[in-house]
């Protein structure tokens, strides 16, 4: 793959495994094993079966008729919101729990922002009867309280991250510290295409089912091999990477990644990483991140807890730098309005994360016969409070 990872874990200038020696054996074990394990017939069979019977895949590629009329193109929604646990996060969690089992790990840790990845991880741990500890920023625990309860019901221990901004990046720090202290028996299920190599590649492979299905489904709908546009929101970037994966080498397909501008890109309250960030090292990989001149990581802001991460995955940084994908951003207001529009035009309450991708539709200039696929990465139940407060319902 032209845009894939090289043997040292790099995508162009980005990636690598910038981890302290304490994490080296953990990461090295994964690096040596992950491709071998995920290509074993027995792994593939169990992964496919669980995706089908437990997650409910394939997720539909839904032709959104009223959206299509409004925006003057054929708009398709890839319905990851219909997955078990309500988002694309479960695809990766299933893949990693099967991997962890085959590595003989007895304990799972994870970080979570909005709680979707935490819920997905707690779910697969329940499924397999494996101990689960989820780190979550104290601030996120408050704004995503229902997901905290879900994780607890599923048997996970939820540990608040109280350092720094008390959000996703701090939860990630705490999970890394846990992994340092428990190097032998614990597997860390990272929820996005971030972290040291091989995580960005491994997570992208597990999420690539999204574009694998979408490509076939588009053909069934339209008789066309390729769409003109593929769009997705980006925090760390896992649903976007899954949505882009099988279109990366089809250069005619325009890839649009939508970041969270928060209160505006230049408001000081934003998570629009490619606009505000510079190259550096975050959570084990060389990537683009929001930081001060002194190299301190800046605390990002978005109304969406799944998008307020100060970096993006290294493969995204590469796609951005070489112009393979276009990175853009929409504000909190634009996303919430787009979320409401989706409810009223299509009868779907989207996660606020996914609503960012939908908001970008307003800014696009499509031709009449363009086929456009948007990843509807998650459902909006977890965001009802935010929607209700904003619109006064």
């Amino acid at each position: 793959m032209k845009y894939g990872v090289n043997e040292h874990g790099y995508y162009g200038d980005f990636g690598g495994a910038y981890v302290p020696e304490m994490l080296y054996p953990n990461v090295e074990e994964l690096r040596q094993q992950y491709l071998k394990i995920i290509n074993e017939p027995d792994f593939k069979a169990e992964f496919d079966l669980l995706l089908k019977d437990y997650v409910g895949r394939p997720s539909p590629l839904y032709f959104a008729k009223r959206y299509s009329e409004k925006y003057g193109a054929n708009i398709f929604l890839k319905r990851e919101d219909l997955n078990h646990t309500g988002s694309h996060k479960i695809n990766n969690a299933i893949g990693q729990i099967l991997l962890a089992q085959r590595l003989g790990k007895k304990r799972i840790i994870a970080e979570t922002g909005a709680g979707q990845h935490g819920v997905a991880t707690a779910t697969v741990c329940a499924l397999k009867g494996i101990e689960c500890v989820v780190y979550m920023g104290e601030v996120d625990m408050e704004r995503q309280a229902p997901n905290v309860s879900r994780m607890k019901m599923l048997g996970a221990k939820v540990v608040p991250a109280c350092s720094g901004s008390k959000t996703l990046k701090d939860a990630t720090n705490e999970a890394l510290r846990d992994w340092i202290a428990n190097p032998v028996d614990t597997h860390y299920i990272i929820g996005s295409v971030v972290g040291p190599y091989p995580y960005p590649d491994m997570v992208a492979r597990f999420q690539s089912i999204i574009s694998f299905e979408a490509k076939k489904q588009l053909f069934e709908h339209t008789g066309k091999e390729l769409p003109e546009y593929v769009m997705a929101c980006v925090g760390g970037g896992s649903n976007a990477m899954g949505m882009f994966y099988h279109f990366l080498d089809d250069e005619s397909v325009k890839l649009i990644a939508v970041e969270a501008a928060g209160k505006g890109v230049n408001s000081g309250h934003s998570a629009a990483t490619t606009f505000l960030g510079r190259e550096g090292v975050l959570h084990g990989s060389r990537t683009i991140l929001m930081q001060t001149d002194d190299g301190q990581v800046v605390e990002p802001y978005s109304i969406s807890a799944g998008l307020d991460y100060p970096g993006i995955g290294p493969q995204h940084a590469h796609l951005y730098k070489v112009n393979r994908a276009q990175y853009t951003s929409v504000t909190d207001d634009e996303a919430l309005q787009a979320g409401l529009l989706c409810c009223q035009l299509e009868g779907i309450i989207p996660a606020i994360e996914s609503a960012h991708a939908l908001a970008q539709l307003e800014k696009m200039k499509f031709k009449k016969d363009d086929n456009v696929i948007i990843c509807l990465s998650g459902r909006g139940d977890k965001d009802l409070d935010t929607y209700i407060k904003y619109f006064n319902y």
């Binding site: 190299g295 301190q296 990581v297």
Partner: protein, 258 residues
Amino acid sequence: MNRLNHLFATRKDNLLSIYYTAGYPQLNTTLDIAEALEKAGADFLEIGFPYSDPVADGPTIQHSSQQALDNGMTLNLLFEQLKDLRKRVTIPVLLMGYFNPIVQYGVEEFCKKAAEAGVDGVIVPDLPMYEYETMYAGFFKDNKLSNIFLVTPQTSADRIRKIDELSNSFIYLLSSSSITGGSLDVSDSIEDYYKRIKAMQLKNPAIIGFGIGDNATFKKACEYANGAIVGSKFVKLLESEDYLEKINGFIHSIRPSL
């Protein structure tokens, strides 16, 4: 030969190094603390520059880093402060911190500035061996800076050999796989690990860190290595108001006599 090499050429055991965070507890106390530590008998120093996301550190050093950042510490300012380093301190000094601030400063510029200030070595826990070797080793060598690598109980023998090859002052042995500020692991498996390393007869001396904070743990570490590093316990001491007066007593509580 830098000051570190000289130290290890002349002293083989019971070496004591102290870590503290620059800019903590006050912004401008970096050299006062260094001077007091030298007077009290510390053999070399590790001056930490703060980072917002110190994943290898426990609560004590996390707190000192955050406080230092809140006080306004930056790499620029640290190099300003270190302009007087060699007027006030003669023992070897290392800088320790995470890689991202160095990337922003510019790795080459960082090495140059450190050498100009009279710094002898650098410890960057999250700069891996592969990237160091392929991209940055030249900057360190040009500026006669030692790069210190960490070894943990899980580090393989092959990798330890490679680290020994790339090192030119000492190897930092972690007493356990943990973040900073834990307690010293004295289990049989850890003893086996120290013995295993000793038996490898590495060309570089070894210094043990993580979990060293009193005379008992210091003595234990020195049975297996050339010395030990105290970090979190010392940073904790800096919380008290009259910490400068307490430094002498602290050093002697770790290593009573020389």
